[in-house]
Amino acid sequence: MKIELKNVIPVPLAGISFNQQSVWGNNVSLSSENNYLINAPSGTGKSTLISVLFGTRNDFTGEVFIDGKSTRNISLRDWSALRRNSIAVVFQDLRLFPELTALENILIKTNLTGSVSKEEILSNAEKFGIADRMNIRCKFLSLGQQQRVAILRGLAQPFSFLLLDEPFSHLDEKNIELTTTLIMEACKKNNAGLLLTSLGGNSIFDYHQTFSI
């Protein structure tokens, strides 16, 4: 899968000039064979980038092409297919259902994609150290635990690109290591590229290219 950004500038950031390393205002090409890091302070549009690539925001100038097709021309039906089969995401705000248990939150995704079995989910949860939390409603979990649930849910589908929006902000060193291992395995298995946004340096993955904003 190939994602191209042609001179994209989000409307809220209009009027700002961007340097050559920025994803904004330049022609940027992202391939699912590579890993990318977006390294920038808060308020510079990292989450906006994720939203633009995921088709939930259209308030930008320029154009984004996914496999040659402008995102503005992708129908809602095609977006839902893309989100089921091609682009996986972990949102910065996690977007879990607080009233559902951790397991139900993941099942609501796998019911749709059918790609990961309940046993696989539970064994991954075991690796993440949250196996005993799976039947607790998400609103009672700590942010770190919720973050791991969100990552598990993000991986519970086939994908060509994985978008991670500050996925480790609430995790300690040991858990970061655990999750990155699992993420790398999943990307390898899916032959997928990765795009990660981070506030500071993150050297866990091998990045083909690093962007600042």
Binding site: G55, T56, R77, S80, V89, F91, R95, F97, L112, T113
Partner: protein, 377 residues
């Protein structure tokens, strides 16, 4: 629910009253009207009869709300009725010239199995106006110091009937078998009158001077207008109620209108409610769509939960309507009105129509609201 109930109840009440006013009771609005032409001075001078031609009868048949038209047949011979004085039964002696008319049997309002005559029968059944006996009992009898007589007494007695025509005459027995409120005439079975007219008639010319009309809606303006335009007269009693009918209709229409407005308001309420529910679950809906659920599928989920609510409301409304109807029937029958005991199918159909309309409107509202959430911002 409130709106649906008011609307359906008004419709039902409308149908009930319509029933009451047009069909059920002779009291308020008989469906039988007797029509004759106005008698003018010209008729008196020229001696011509104000009779209906076959063409005029056909035209009347075609008027809106006219269901059936029956013709009056008159006797074409002279007739005298007399009773020999019978002091044992306290019946005074009696002699009078008479006329007879007949109408088709289906127009007779007297229920009796004696209303038949065939050639060779020695007793002719007669129906007289109920008013006629009243006139005698309360007008004539007191003034002449004669005894009052009951309907039963009259019906028990036979009297003699002398009918005479061109060159022959006959005496036969006759018995009063009933008293009509509807038809102000001396009625004999048509079979008898036809036979007697053939045998004794001074002329074979058949003239129809009066018509009896069955109307599903005798107070309809169309009928009244037609009668007026053609100079026909009718026992105006029948049409008196059209004003009352009109007022009732206006009230019912108002009720239906109010029901409609309440329905519209409740439709707005429902749509706002569904909007509220959708915006309350905005986070969940958007998340589902971001997980890859196609938005119509999400909308369908919401719609199905509303559908359940609607079905419950609809069934509750119909149940309540039934209860109201039962109470209403009880109330009306206490006051002497008989109305249909069940809810009319038209009302149920209207209700179903409105129900489907509400569902469709809500489905569209939900679909649009969720579409707005699915679109990229």
């Amino acid at each position: 629910m409130c709106g649906l109930l008011i609307l359906l109840a008004s419709l039902q009440a409308y149908f009930d009253f319509k029933d009451l006013l047009t069909k059920k009771t002779d009291l308020i609005n008989p469906q039988y009207i007797i029509i004759n032409k106005k008698v003018s001075l010209l008729n008196t001078i020229s001696g011509s009869r104000s009779s209906f031609s076959a063409d005029e009868i056909e035209k009347l048949r075609a008027v809106k709300n006219v269901d059936r038209v029956g013709t009056f047949t008159s006797n074409l011979f002279s007739a005298q009725a007399y009773i020999e004085k019978n002091s044992k039964m306290n019946i005074p002696g009696f002699y009078t010239d008479l006329f007879f008319e007949s109408v088709p049997d289906e127009f007779i309002d007297v229920k009796t199995d004696q209303w038949k005559w065939k050639s060779g029968d020695d007793v002719v059944p007669v129906i007289i106006p109920a008013d006629y006996l009243n006139l005698y009992n309360f007008g004539f009898a007191p003034s002449q110091n004669l005894p009052q007589i009951s309907q039963r007494t009259v019906a028990a007695a036979t009297f003699r009937l002398k009918i005479s025509g061109k060159d022959s005459s006959a005496v036969i027995n006759a018995r009063i078998v009933g008293f009509s409120d509807r038809i102000n005439s001396f009625l004999v079975p048509r079979s008898f009158l036809d036979a007697a007219n053939r045998a004794l008639g001074s002329t074979q010319k058949k003239e129809t001077s009066r018509l009896i009309v069955v109307s599903s809606d005798p107070s309809s303006p169309a009928l009244a207008k037609y009668l007026d335009e053609n100079g026909y007269e009718t026992s105006s009693e029948n049409l008196k109620n059209s004003r009352l009918n009109l007022v009732l209709r206006i009230i019912m229409s108002l009720l239906v209108g109010i029901g409609g407005i309440v329905i519209l308001l409740s439709l707005l309420g429902f749509i706002q409610y569904s909007q509220l529910m959708v915006s309350k679950s905005k986070y969940e809906i958007q998340t589902l769509i971001r997980l890859g659920y196609y938005f119509p599928k999400v909308a369908m989920r919401y719609f199905l939960s509303y559908l359940l609510l609607f079905v419950v409301i609809f069934i509750a409304t119909i149940a309540l309507l039934y209860l109201m109807k039962i109470k209403f029937v009880a109330l009306m029958s206490e006051n002497g009105f008989e109305i249909e005991g069940s809810i009319s199918s038209a009302v149920l159909l209207y209700g179903l129509g409105i129900f489907l309309f509400l569902i469709a409107a809500n489905a569209i509202a939900i679909y649009r609201n969720i579409l707005l959430l699915a679109r990229p911002g």
